[in-house]
């Protein structure tokens, strides 16, 4: 429905008790002010948030899905990086 020259924006909302802004979706708007208004109208209708960020989608640099193997598989074999890998001695109690 949007015309091709209406830029795309990514919307981030910080909820009432959330600490960080979380990505909730995207929308079309002519500029930042209009994007913020549209984000309010589309993504906070049910009291979802107390703060909104909008970012031009073109400002995002994304990893290439084709490089998934090279990027993420090497981490899978290093289970010692998870704290659950280690046994905590009884005497330590709750950490």
């Amino acid at each position: 429905m949007a015309t091709p020259n209406t830029p795309l924006w990514e919307v981030f909302i910080r909820s009432r008790n959330g600490l960080a802004h979380k990505h909730v979706g995207s929308l079309h708007a002519s500029d930042a002010t209009m994007a913020l208004q549209a984000a309010r109208d589309i993504y906070t209708r049910r009291g979802e948030g107390l703060s909104i960020w909008v970012v031009p989608s073109t400002a995002i640099t994304a990893s290439d899905p084709a490089e998934k193997g090279m990027m993420f598989e090497p981490a899978e074999s290093k289970i010692y990086r998870h704290p659950t890998f280690y046994d905590v001695p009884e005497e330590v109690g709750h950490m």
């Binding site: 708007a29 002010t33 209009m34 208004q37 549209a38 109208d41």
Partner: protein, 258 residues
């Protein structure tokens, strides 16, 4: 039309409340006509949100009008069982949606007034009206911001959007004077501190409107002749068509609920 119209005892307070309720309902209904038809999904949602704010305001005002009247009427009867001549809304709000520019200019003229009006009404001696004002004020403030930003972009946009926005301003300007009119029945409420005198809002309204219109590279008409009549039930030909759609269910299936 199979159900008879109700009669309303229009004491000054009932009439005053009914006029504001009718403004909100009719403008809310007009905006709801965009649902599924707006130029982009984002604005479809925005206009529907504004419509719901206004219909919410209308419900509270109708409820209070019915209570003040103290008879058998309730909010549904007031909305669904009065005919055109019994409606008391401003001519401005019943004007057809036209194109997107006409809808936004109509909204802008009204919201610039409603924003000031509800803020002032928070000091009403009538505690119910003051409470309704406190809730409506935040909604109207956002409606004003939304429509202002659009007027600026339509006016300062393309040749086409500029021409359409200017056309809408020229067409709707004559309906703005009615917002500031006061009759004898309202004068008494103003003196009693229940209503505010809209004439006191006019300079600030003009300042807001002029600054947005100037930023939008648009111009206000020099013509100051103003059309009136809505407050007394003398409406344009458009309201009857609107009401026939708005009221068709209750007129066909009286008392139907879901």
């Amino acid at each position: 039309m199979t159900v008879a119209n109700i009669q309303v005892s229009e004491t000054p307070l009932v009439l005053y409340t009914l006029r504001r309720a009718d403004d909100a309902l009719i403008l809310g209904h007009r905006l709801s006509e965009w649902c599924g038809h707006a130029p982009m999904l984002e604005e479809d949602m925005a206009l529907s949100n504004i419509a719901l704010d206004l219909i919410g305001q209308a419900r509270e005002l109708y409820g209070y009008a019915a209570k003040a009247e103290g008879g058998d009427n309730d909010e549904d009867k007031l909305a669904y069982l009065r005919d055109v001549r019994q409606y008391r809304n401003l001519l401005l709000v019943e004007q057809p949606n036209g194109d997107f520019a006409q809808t936004l200019v109509r909204q802008f003229f009204y919201s610039a007034f409603a924003d000031l009006y509800w803020r002032a009404m928070m000091n009403s001696r009538d505690t119910t009206l003051a409470a309704i004002a406190a809730k409506s004020e935040k909604e109207s403030a956002y409606h004003l911001r939304h429509s202002s930003e659009w007027i600026i972009r339509l006016g300062d946009g393309t040749e086409e959007s500029h021409a359409r926005a200017q056309g809408a301003i020229d067409q709707l300007w004559a309906f703005t004077g009615e917002m500031f009119a006061v009759d004898d029945s309202e004068r008494g409420l103003i003196d009693a501190g229940i209503a505010i005198d809209p004439a006191t809002l006019r300079d600030r309204w003009m300042k807001t409107v002029a600054s947005v219109v100037t930023e939008a590279t648009l111009a206000l008409p020099q013509n100051n002749w103003m059309q009136q009549g809505g407050r007394f039930g003398r409406h344009s030909e458009h309201l009857g068509h609107l009401l026939s759609e708005l009221q068709s269910m209750q007129r066909t299936f009286p008392g139907q609920t879901w």
